[in-house]
């Protein structure tokens, strides 16, 4: 049987049915289809060839260890991506605090209901998310979420999203903060609340 002619999902069926060297050959074929994509992601995230190779190795070792738990409810590439994403975010997460954390969140905090309005919290959360999504352009939003939410360093975000401007992700954070401040001020001027 030509393994190269099988889809990822069909290879997994073969993998479950085979033993020994044949099983190794199937998993080798399956993983080799994804080496380059994972390598590219790891290089972008780490910015260093050797660290990227270590990260890619960990990703595939983890995938190999848990291959049996893949239930076929999604594409194999998506399943592998969840491992790539989780493993790499954990490894690259920044050690220090984010850029001006209080400054960036101050405007959002003024729109937040506060701990005494528990009943409205979920609704306010939805409105805050909508406010953020409507105020920032797509790239600013992605940089904001990755930096403050996933705690990625700015240089990793710059490489990951292939930002080609001179100051990379930092410029998008500065711009996002300015827009959030202005949008919050406009809301207050109109006497509106989230």
């Amino acid at each position: 049987m030509q393994l190269g002619a099988l889809s990822d999902e069909d290879l997994l069926v073969e993998w479950r049915q085979r033993n020994g060297l044949e099983r190794d050959a199937v998993v080798n074929e399956l993983f080799s289809r994804h080496y380059e994509r994972v390598a590219r992601w790891c290089m972008r995230l780490t910015g260093d060839r050797d660290r990227a190779a270590d990260l890619a190795q960990e990703v595939f070792l983890k995938a190999h260890r848990y291959l049996d738990s893949f239930r076929g409810t999604s594409r194999f590439s998506t399943w592998l991506y969840t491992i790539v994403r989780n493993e790499s975010m954990t490894k690259v997460r920044r050690a220090g605090p984010p850029m001006d954390p209080d400054d960036a969140l101050a405007e959002l905090a003024t729109l937040d209901p506060g701990p005494h309005e528990l009943a409205e919290r979920e609704l306010k959360g939805t409105r805050l998310r909508e406010f953020l999504a409507a105020t920032l352009d797509p790239l600013e939003l992605n940089v904001f979420v990755l930096h403050y939410g996933d705690e990625l360093p700015l240089d990793a975000i710059t490489r990951l999203l292939r930002l080609e401007n001179a100051s990379g992700a930092k410029a998008y954070i500065v711009s996002a903060k300015r827009k959030l401040a202005k949008a919050a001020e406009d809301l207050r001027t109109r006497g509106e609340a989230l």
């Binding site: 190795q57 190999h64 998506t78 991506y81 959360g125 990755l146």
Partner: protein, 229 residues
């Protein structure tokens, strides 16, 4: 703003919600509901952008050579050896190393026996206090469930004074840990919110005696909120 307040505000504005699109669905065409959700959800828009970067991007000229090297290096490190697992585990098969390890273990065992001979048989030990490590039986949730579970339940394990509970991603990235004295535990809402439709979650329980020693383990069990709810 304190760290706790900052974290809570971030969770509420850019954290995952029960309506968020599970990672397993990112490669599929969005439904109408998912499209509407995407328009207003910073988290899902970012996750989709990342997925697209992963799936579709072409390497730039400057990182092309490095990517080729990393891919080749990964292939080299993981290449299966004849009747071996991945190369990262291949040292276990090297005859010289295996022989060396065996000699080392033998020397250590002989040394240990001389240094610390077999202990005397104790005169009496209360049989009720002796437990073998056994299986904790998980009751619910398992398999496909119709709604995000708020409680995890398992059978009473004889001799257990407490239970440690781990909730994990399918790749065993930890999501939450808890401890209970009863064979059930309530999950915090922030964790329940992570159980989005289509997402497979693993959980496991370790039974501990009064001294904190592990006396039983469940092994991993998975559940998933049905995507079609």
């Amino acid at each position: 703003m304190s760290d706790g307040n900052r974290r809570e505000l971030l969770e509420r504005t850019i954290g995952a919600t029960p309506d968020c699109i599970p990672a397993e669905r990112l490669g599929e065409p969005p439904t109408d509901g998912e499209r509407a959700h995407l328009a207003a959800c910073p988290r899902c828009r970012t996750e989709l952008a990342l997925w697209q970067e992963y799936e579709q991007s072409i390497p730039s000229a400057e990182d092309g050579a490095a990517v080729q090297w990393i891919a080749a290096e990964t292939a080299r490190r993981l290449a299966p050896q004849p009747s071996r697992g991945p190369r990262a585990l291949g040292w276990l098969r090297w005859p010289q190393l295996a022989a060396g390890m065996a000699a080392l273990l033998l020397a250590a065992a002989v040394g240990y026996t001389v240094w610390d001979p077999e202990p005397r048989v104790q005169p009496h030990q209360d049989a009720a206090a002796v437990y073998r490590t056994g299986r904790v039986q998980l009751l619910a949730p398992t398999g496909d469930v119709t709604a995000p579970p708020r409680v995890l339940e398992w059978s009473v394990f004889t001799g257990a004074a407490s239970y440690d509970v781990n909730v994990l991603e399918v790749d065993r990235t930890p999501l939450w840990q808890g401890s209970a004295r009863e064979p059930r535990i309530d999950l915090p809402p922030a964790i329940v919110a992570l159980f989005v439709p289509g997402k497979t979650v693993t959980w496991e329980v370790t039974a501990r005696d009064a001294a904190g020693a592990a006396i039983g383990e469940s092994g991993p069990r998975q559940f998933r909120v049905s995507p079609g709810r």
